[in-house]
């Protein structure tokens, strides 16, 4: 019985490894060796679940920056009112490995306050 279960679990793992090609928001999808620090105005702000995101201009492209769930943002002192389009903030984060214009932010500096996002 135990052997059968082990076999099933192994099969499951292999199936999953084979099935997953596209990558999304987990930290593993981002290039941790390439830390970007960008002082930029916010183009758009989506203060929402499952995670807030903003867009910025960088290197001639529009980047989507993934922040954190809004419950975490509020708990760490970044309410919706502090994150407005047009405001210049500093974003510290990692770009996507696959070249998509998307950044996962490690921290964001708003009005002189640093908010850790992880």
């Amino acid at each position: 019985m135990l052997k059968k279960l082990l076999l099933l679990t192994t099969t499951l793992g292999l199936l999953l490894a084979g099935a997953i090609a596209q990558a999304h928001h987990g930290w593993s999808s981002y290039d941790a060796d390439q830390l970007l620090t960008l002082e930029v105005p916010l183009q758009t702000v989506n203060y929402r679940n499952p995670h807030a995101d903003v867009s910025i201009e960088h290197d001639g492209r529009t980047w989507q920056v993934i922040l954190a769930p809004i419950s975490r943002l509020q708990a760490r002192g970044l309410p919706e009112a502090d994150l407005t389009a047009g405001k210049t903030v500093t974003i510290v984060g990692y770009p996507r490995k696959d070249g998509t214009a998307e950044i996962r932010a490690e921290r964001i500096i708003v009005d002189g306050r640093t908010i850790e996002l992880r």
Partner: protein, 160 residues
């Protein structure tokens, strides 16, 4: 497919979708309910499947089935309800996500498999241990595989 995408966009724009996105408490709360539903479905389902495959023969199969099935059904209802709310928050992008599509397909297969099993074999659980039909045991093994996959795909939605 187009009508599904339109429906997802509509759902995302409903009051439910808006609340799920904008409330700091609702989304995590529904996440917790979804997790509770997962535990209540997966635990009993996997135990029942293991029993059908021959584990724990000291416990009478009809009694095990009577004890575990209602829990699994309750867990499934909780999962479907909370899952629908979580989906509403981000319905547009989620409906285009290959992992979620695969997960929904597997859920349909898992429910279909369970209903078919009840239809075919619920009267034969009494002498299952001496006369277990091969196709019935295959259904139990399939159930194990399907629900573990559903669980894994659900968790991985946040990462891939």
């Amino acid at each position: 497919m187009d009508s599904l995408i339109a429906w997802a966009a509509w759902l995302e724009a409903t009051a439910l979708g808006v609340q799920m996105r904008s409330s700091a408490l609702l989304y995590p709360a529904l996440n917790l309910l979804h997790l509770l539903g997962l535990v209540l479905l997966l635990g009993p389902m996997l135990l029942l499947d293991a029993r059908l495959l021959g584990a724990g023969r000291t416990f009478s199969l009809p009694a095990v089935s009577r004890a575990l099935t209602p829990l699994a059904v309750f867990g499934l209802v909780l999962l479907l309800g909370s899952g629908f709310c979580l989906f509403a928050a981000d319905a547009g992008p989620l409906s285009a996500d290959g992992l979620l599509q695969l997960k929904l397909l597997l859920i349909a297969m898992g429910i279909g498999n369970a209903l078919l099993f009840r239809q075919l074999w619920s009267a034969r659980l009494g002498d299952w241990d001496t006369h277990a039909p091969l196709s019935g045991r295959l259904q139990a093994a399939l159930s194990l595989l399907i629900w573990l996959l559903v669980m894994s795909l659900g968790r991985l939605l946040a990462y891939f």
